[in-house]
């Protein structure tokens, strides 16, 4: 008997409601949700306490009384180092300039185990090969600790670096520009020297995004997308395992046989996948709510408002500006279809085995596909630090096995344009529909199979047989 699509889907709501309710009631769901929520709730306060502790240590004045220095760099402005160090961790220290003979005497004295003063000795050098060098000596007696000596050296080197630019006579804003790392971009379209293209509207959202794409990812963007890909992957893996186990349990306990007297296999798998998705999204929402609570707790502890600085620093102005409601919705829809695609695949895997204990073995194929998708996304993220418009970028954006991981991450950091994300979503949706049709065709044959695990070859044979039935 041939059924229309609406007949094949009849009853999915009942399957959905029952499966979702039972999943929510299950101990496994409750325990994992509680664990994730607790982690989310306390992550920011704990992290802030650790960071503040480090910061407190970082702003402590260093226990150094005198800074002796011998200058071979030729910068007369080092005479003003005393002033330059003010406001820093060495602001209380006295700065004394030495000549060559005093320097030798001092360094010999500091080698003595009896040297009890909290002094350090700086030697500024210049050479054609290595540029400027700062050599810092501290007493062998450890009247100044190695850690403090190291922090002092870093601070003096930074001050020295600034002073080099100050001697050039440049204004402060130019100096701060000079301090920035140099970025480059490759272009193929003509852009006039003044930066305004008369033929292309560079002010448009899409064009600016494409220009951004041609630059490599920053470390912060890399970190955010890497974390985002991993988080989605973990949830997809848990979700897939949940669907596969549910299908195998029904099959192994022979409940499927009873259910198929009332509904078609497509309704069964569809309701089940949607139920799993709902449970996952609810877990996701609960964890997100815990994270929001975590921000409030963190604010109460630190006395700050909003996101802690170590989080807000991760998002560039461009990414925050591109975080429009449309793109947020797009990211959520891509994740949902990613879950649906992987859930359907997991359902197929579940139907291919006959016993619950074989589920892990059956999930190998699912895990393999998941890993390829995830690694493709991660590889693209790494490669995008150097070249953001490569073949790998397009592959990971358009392949339905990797796009659910990459697209949300790239939407979050503002590194993918809306049309590309929409195109990727279209490919993902088509793939899901095709996979669902395939699964619905073979599910019937697979569900009554008992014995050894069905291999891909067997499943394809079943599909061909079903296609033959349909054509008759």
């Amino acid at each position: 008997m041939r059924y229309k699509l609406d007949e094949r889907l009849r009853g999915w709501r009942e399957v959905y409601a029952f499966s979702a309710l039972q999943s929510l009631k299950s101990k496994a769901t409750k325990i994992t949700t509680v664990i994730f929520c607790v982690i989310a709730l306390f992550s920011l306060p704990v992290f802030t306490l650790i960071m503040d502790n480090d910061d407190a240590h970082a702003i402590d004045a260093l226990d150094i009384k005198t800074i002796y220095y011998y200058d071979e760099s030729g910068f007369s402005i080092l005479d003003g180092m005393n002033t330059a160090l003010e406001g820093g961790r060495l602001s209380g220290a006295e700065v004394i300039k030495l000549n060559s003979a005093d320097y030798d005497r001092k360094i010999l004295a500091m080698e003595s185990a009896e040297y009890g003063e909290a002094d350090i000795l700086c030697h500024f050098l210049i050479s054609n090969e290595t540029g400027y060098t700062l050599r810092v000596a501290f007493p062998k007696s450890e009247s100044v600790s190695e850690l403090d000596a190291n922090d002092a050296a870093a601070e003096i080197a930074a001050v020295f670096h600034d002073m080099i630019f100050i001697t050039s006579g440049l204004p402060e804003d130019e100096i701060s520009s000079l301090m920035e790392p140099i970025e480059y971009e490759l272009i193929t379209d003509y852009i006039p020297a003044d930066g305004n293209d008369s033929t292309v509207d560079v002010g448009s959202d899409d064009m600016s995004e494409i220009n951004v794409n041609r630059q490599g990812l920053t470390m912060a963007e890399y970190g955010v997308s890497y974390a985002c890909i991993l988080i989605v992957m973990i949830f997809v893996a848990i979700f897939g395992e949940m669907i596969a186990t549910s299908v195998v349990t029904e099959k192994a306990n022979r409940v499927t046989e009873y259910l198929l007297t009332s509904i078609r296999p497509l309704a069964l798998i569809f309701g089940k996948v949607l139920a799993g998705l709902t449970v996952m999204l609810l877990q996701f929402a609960t964890i997100a709510a815990s994270l929001v609570c975590s921000v409030y707790i963190e604010n109460a502890i630190s006395g700050r408002d909003g996101l802690p600085p170590y989080l807000s620093q991760l998002f560039s102005e461009e990414s925050i500006a591109s975080f429009t409601p449309l793109r947020v919705i797009l990211a959520v829809v891509v994740i949902i279809f990613g879950f649906l695609l992987y859930g359907t695949l997991a359902g197929l895997v579940g139907a291919s085995v006959s016993r619950v204990e074989e589920t892990t073995e059956g999930l190998k194929g699912f895990t393999f596909v998941l890993m390829i998708g995830c690694y493709l996304g991660l590889a693209n993220t790494i490669y995008s630090m150097f070249d953001a418009g490569s073949l790998l970028f397009w592959l990971s954006m358009l392949l339905p096995i990797s796009s659910p991981f990459v697209i949300p991450a790239y939407l979050l950091i503002g590194r993918v344009s809306t049309p590309i994300a929409l195109g990727s979503l279209a490919v993902l949706m088509i793939s899901f529909i095709l996979l669902s049709i395939f699964v619905a065709n073979v599910y019937e044959g697979m569900i009554f199979h008992n014995g050894s695990r069905l291999k891909l070859k067997d499943i394809l044979q079943l599909s061909r047989k079903e296609a033959h039935h349909e054509s008759k």
Binding site: E14, N253, R254, E257, L259, S262, H469
Partner: protein, 308 residues
């Protein structure tokens, strides 16, 4: 109402597991599908219920193709199925909902059936107590819950695959009473069983399958009649071996401590032997001439080398 199965066929690769199966149920009652293990009974049932696609033939309900999504069917599968970790009421309500039974009606029916089958204590726990899950029930009680699931929607067509297997005599009688009740209510039942006395008790029509083919089909009484009264039981005080050796029309003779079990060509041969014994003043203690049992017909048709 009527159920008509026409030329059903199902193949797995080169193997034909159901080969041109046809039968008709024109009135309520029980139709028996018999056969050895692997004869094709369960596959036929799955095709009839629309779970499996056939490679040929059709199943008609009131002259139209039977659509399990439209026709209210109840099914008790041979290999029983319940969710082991879900509460009994939850899963029964779910099964009823799939059959489009309202929650209120389902709850009422669950209560009635639970009382009838004596499983209220498992479905309804005292306040504060944890409801029972299927894996906490014995096999027999699980079977009762499954029978409830099959009958909750008050189906027009009921398919029972080995309904009495694994039941103790008390529960077996309970199930039989329910089956009789369903017959009295004008339901159409298809039953598959290896317990021949049960089939004889309920079924008016049968099909015996052997390797997917129907080797015997029709009304059970007519089939028996067609065999004639050919099974004779004979017990005498004296040794009757010489008479048996001389008698004509005896197909086989089996001696047991209780009596001779003799297969005769027909009633005339049996009567002739009895007359000879009486003429020779032999004291006949027991003489019985009857039709073959379903068990005997079954064994004859599918051979004794099969596992039954």
């Amino acid at each position: 109402m009527s159920l008509e199965i026409r030329n059903l066929k199902k193949c797995y690769g080169d193997k034909t597991v159901v080969d041109n199966l046809s039968f008709t149920m024109k009135e309520p009652g029980v139709y028996a599908l018999l056969g050895t293990n692997g004869a094709g009974k369960t596959t036929s049932i799955r095709i009839i219920l629309g779970m499996l696609a056939s490679d040929g033939g059709e199943v008609l309900w009131n002259g139209k193709p039977l659509d399990p999504l439209e026709v209210n069917v109840g099914y008790l599968a041979e290999e029983r199925g319940l969710y082991p970790k879900y509460t009994l009421e939850d899963q029964l309500l779910y099964f009823a909902k799939l059959k489009k039974v309202s929650r209120k009606t389902a709850q009422e029916r669950i209560r009635i059936w639970a009382e009838k089958l004596g499983v209220e204590e498992y479905i309804y726990t005292e306040k504060g107590a944890k409801p029972k899950t299927a894996d906490q029930l014995s096999k027999g009680n699980q079977q009762k819950i499954q029978l409830m699931a099959a009958l909750l929607s008050d189906p027009e067509l009921i398919v029972l695959d080995e309904p009495l297997s694994g039941l103790d005599p008390v529960n077996s009688d309970l199930f039989k009473a329910i089956i009789k009740e369903e017959i009295a209510n004008g339901k159409y039942l298809i039953m598959s069983s290896h317990q021949m006395p049960t089939i004889e008790e309920f079924c008016s029509d049968i099909t015996i399958l052997d390797r997917g083919k129907a080797v015997l089909q029709g009304n059970l009484n007519e089939i028996k009649r067609s065999y004639g009264r050919c099974n004779m039981l004979l017990k005498c005080e004296e040794d009757i071996t010489p008479y048996l050796n001389r008698a004509e029309g005896l197909l086989s003779v089996e001696e047991s401590p209780d009596a001779y079990k003799i297969r005769v060509a027909g009633a005339d041969a049996a009567n002739s032997l009895l007359r000879t014994l009486l003429d020779h003043q032999v004291s006949v203690i027991r003489f019985e001439l009857r039709e073959p049992s379903l068990h005997e017909i079954f064994v004859e048709k599918v051979g004794g080398n099969h596992e039954v």
